[in-house]
């Protein structure tokens, strides 16, 4: 991992990284924005999953609930990437050499994949997950997989602060 070490050292020495490290309010402010964007994603996923599981907003169709909340699953993502990248620039080794950060990225890909698997059929047909008993079961399975995955992403995010890099 020699090249990653030297990349982290180089990045941490750049003027941008030095600024983020020394101006005291930047990191907590960026983390606050990151958490607020997480709140938008997590709550939207929960509202969609509760509907798919038949536990919430049953006066609305799955299509209506997903139309309402999809934008708030995807549009915080650029904000999360930008704020996350800023935190990496501030302390490259804290994230890039941290196994929990790698785990978080893996969980994020899995969570996003499951969420997309739910969304793509709905784009073609809003009633897709309600057309048969089999599809309703599949939708419940997707919902109950997606929730723990997104929760795991959040937990891994917090654990980055407690696990030392390699």
């Amino acid at each position: 991992m020699h090249s990653l070490d030297s990349f982290c050292t180089w990045l941490a020495a750049t003027p941008l990284s030095q600024t983020v490290q020394t101006v005291e309010w930047i990191i907590p402010a960026v983390q606050t924005v990151h958490i607020l964007a997480v709140a938008a994603v997590m709550t939207s996923v929960l509202m969609i999953d509760l509907r798919l599981l038949g536990l919430g907003a049953r006066d609305q169709t799955v299509a209506a609930v997903t139309r309402r909340f999809w934008p708030f699953v995807w549009w915080p993502l650029p904000v999360l990437l930008a704020t996350g990248a800023t935190l990496i620039v501030a302390e490259p080794a804290r994230a890039l050499e941290n196994p929990v950060f790698i785990l978080k990225m893996g969980l994020l890909l899995a969570a996003a994949g499951v969420t997309l698997a739910c969304e793509i059929p709905l784009r073609r047909n809003g009633a897709f997950w309600e057309l048969s008993a089999g599809r309703r079961r599949a939708a419940r399975l997707i919902a109950s997989t997606s929730l723990p995955l997104w929760v795991a992403v959040i937990f891994a995010g917090r654990w980055i602060a407690y696990v030392q890099g390699a």
Binding site: E24, I27, P28, A29, Q31, T32, I35, L36, V38, A39, A40, M42, T43, S44, L46, M47, L50, G56, A57, D59, Q60, R68, V151, I154, F155, G157, R158, W159, A161, Y162
Partner: protein, 165 residues
Amino acid sequence: MDSWLQSLQDTAIATAIREGASLFPWVECVHVLALTLVIGSIAIVDCRLLGLTSRDRSVARTTASTLPVTWSAFVVAAVTGGLLFSSNATTYAHNSYFQAKLLLIALAGVNMGAYHVFLGRRADAWHTPALTPVRARIVGAISLGLWIAIAACGRWIGFTISAPT
């Protein structure tokens, strides 16, 4: 006050959270998850009050689907927050961001209570899928601002107290 905080900090559970290797981070994980759901579900209602989203759905129906999430997540956030507080009660109690956070949560509660008492009974503002009156929009804006400030205070507590950030 300080002796009460000290005895809270000396309880077996507070000691376990403070001295255990992984108890504090796990409780913090649950706290973060719960607070994202509290803020997210309140923001859904605030944005509806502001007329930004869910315009085709009445405020009453929007609230009915989010309130169970808000309250259950709030209970979890309060319990986990209390546990984190107990682990270092004397330090947290004197931290100005912690004090500000509690004050802002109380203000958010007053704002929500005032809304329900003074505006929530107005059927037109509450039960029809339409733009809300200006007063309701002000309540939504105040609530959104307060909860953003509460999240910020929470994060700043971590940076002004010697603990991993």
